[in-house]
């Protein structure tokens, strides 16, 4: 891999040092809402990464043509129309995936990480770094979503990768691992309190590994 130092810093920042969910604490609304299972987390992660990279590139392209005073409303408009377009296109051409990710896509609009990256990074940087930043931030967010989803799923219903076939196709039914079977799910982990506490523990873990 021949990455310049600049790009490497951006990637490391997105994945770990400046992680959206663990450090910037952005995008918590969709994060807390959907991380009931690992696959749900992965789904929202993919959709968010896609929108982040796309909106970062778009903002970077037009960054010289936007007056400073009205940049925020313009970003909001761009992101909203970007998300709506993605939703319509997915609905039309990847219907099965849309049925699974469909509920996540409007949730992306509530993700302030997108406008956060547009404002903090893409509006000041060239197109390629902006694209890399969007991708790295998105993947970092996805990783947290998957870990949190996985832990909540394991504690809550005793499985890992439940519902994988919804995202990956029929063959993925085999992927589901049952650790223990319960008639009654451990609702505390599945409902929002489990998400808050799980995220808190993840943040604590990161801060313990790398004290500021």
């Amino acid at each position: 891999m021949n990455l310049s130092v600049e790009h490497r810093t951006i990637i490391k920042g997105g994945l770990w040092d400046n992680n959206t969910a663990l450090v910037q604490l952005l995008g918590l609304c969709p994060l807390l809402a959907v991380t009931g299972t690992l696959i749900n987390g992965l789904g929202l992660g993919i959709a968010t990464t896609f929108v982040l990279a796309g909106s970062n590139v778009t903002v970077s392209i037009i960054r010289h043509h936007i007056p400073k005073e009205i940049r925020i409303p313009i970003f909001v408009m761009l992101i909203a129309s970007f998300v709506t377009n993605v939703q319509l296109i997915m609905n039309a051409y990847t219907y099965e995936l849309y049925l699974v990710l469909g509920i996540f896509i409007p949730l992306i609009v509530t993700n302030c990480a997108i406008i956060g990256r547009a404002e903090a990074f893409a509006s000041k940087n060239r197109i390629l770094p902006s694209f890399i930043d969007g991708l790295a931030q998105g993947l970092g967010f996805t990783a947290v979503l998957m870990v949190l989803g996985g832990v909540r799923e394991l504690i809550g219903q005793g499985t890992i990768l439940d519902g994988a076939h919804l995202l990956l196709g029929e063959w993925a039914k085999e992927l589901t691992v049952h650790f223990y079977l319960t008639e009654q799910k451990f609702l505390f982990a599945i409902l929002p309190p489990g998400a808050f506490i799980g995220l808190g523990l993840l943040i604590a873990f990161k801060n313990w590994l790398h004290p500021k």
Binding site: G36, H65, I66, P67, E69, I70, P73, I74, M77, L78, A80, S81, T84, N85, L88, I89, N91, A92, Y93, Y95, L99, G156, Q157, E183, Q184, K185, L187, I190, L191
Partner: protein
């Protein structure tokens, strides 16, 4: 003293210039982004309608075996509306299945308006004899792990409806056991089953009220071209 008003008006003019320029740019962006979305909407509208139709038909095959009817269900349906019996003033679809010339079954989409977390949409398939072939939950927001067991993939709860009809049950039986009816509730969720049971019962009433007519009326839901692969 006379200088100040002049300066003031200069400032105002400058501010006005910046404001109108920014307003123009903002308007332009609004126009472009809304325009793009509108174009995408128009381009994808028919395809989306097709996909929704196709998935509904796929779900239909879970309730009514595809080899039990011979007509083209995609093209044979009615738009129906009934605020009291179908849960909302929304237009619903009624698909008709026929075996040769014989009326075989009807499938109705409907809404249970009083779920634990809002509306539950479902489809109800009924044989021409009035016997329930089954129901399918199409969308809902019920609590995961509790109310979501109404989904076919999550528990056997929906199977309780199979083979019931208005003639082999009494109205009082159409509720959960707790309320004196014949249906099992779900552990930890009573409101959800109550809503679904009520909605299914009303659908049966709706279908029975005009069954003959429902089979005879000319198809009036805008047929969409669907390539059947």
């Amino acid at each position: 003293m006379t200088e100040q008003p002049i300066q003031q008006s200069k400032k105002t003019r400058l501010l006005m210039n910046v404001m109108s320029e920014n307003g123009l740019i903002l308007g332009l962006f609004a126009l472009v982004s809304t325009g793009l979305t509108a174009v995408t909407y128009v381009l994808t509208k028919d395809k989306i309608a097709q996909e929704i139709e196709r998935s509904l038909i796929r779900q239909l095959s879970e309730l009514v075996p595809t080899n039990s009817y011979t007509n083209d269900v995609y093209q044979d349906c009615l738009i129906v509306q009934d605020k009291n019996l179908l849960g909302s003033a929304q237009e619903q679809k009624l698909y008709r299945m026929r075996n040769q010339q014989e009326n075989h079954a009807l499938m109705l989409t409907t809404v249970a308006p009083d779920g634990y977390s809002g509306k539950i949409t479902l489809s109800v398939a009924v044989e021409s004899s009035g016997k329930l072939l089954g129901i399918n939950i199409l969308s809902h927001n019920e609590t995961p792990g509790l109310g979501d067991k109404i989904e076919r993939t999550k528990s056997n709860w929906v199977h309780q409806f199979n083979n019931l009809s208005l003639s082999n049950t009494d109205e009082t039986e159409w509720t959960v056991k707790k309320d004196g009816g014949q249906f099992d509730a779900l552990t930890g969720a009573t409101i959800t089953p109550r809503a679904v049971i009520k909605s299914v019962f009303k659908s049966l009433q709706f279908l029975q009220s005009n069954q003959q007519q429902f089979f005879e009326l000319p198809s009036d839901c805008y047929p969409i071209e669907v390539d059947k692969k």
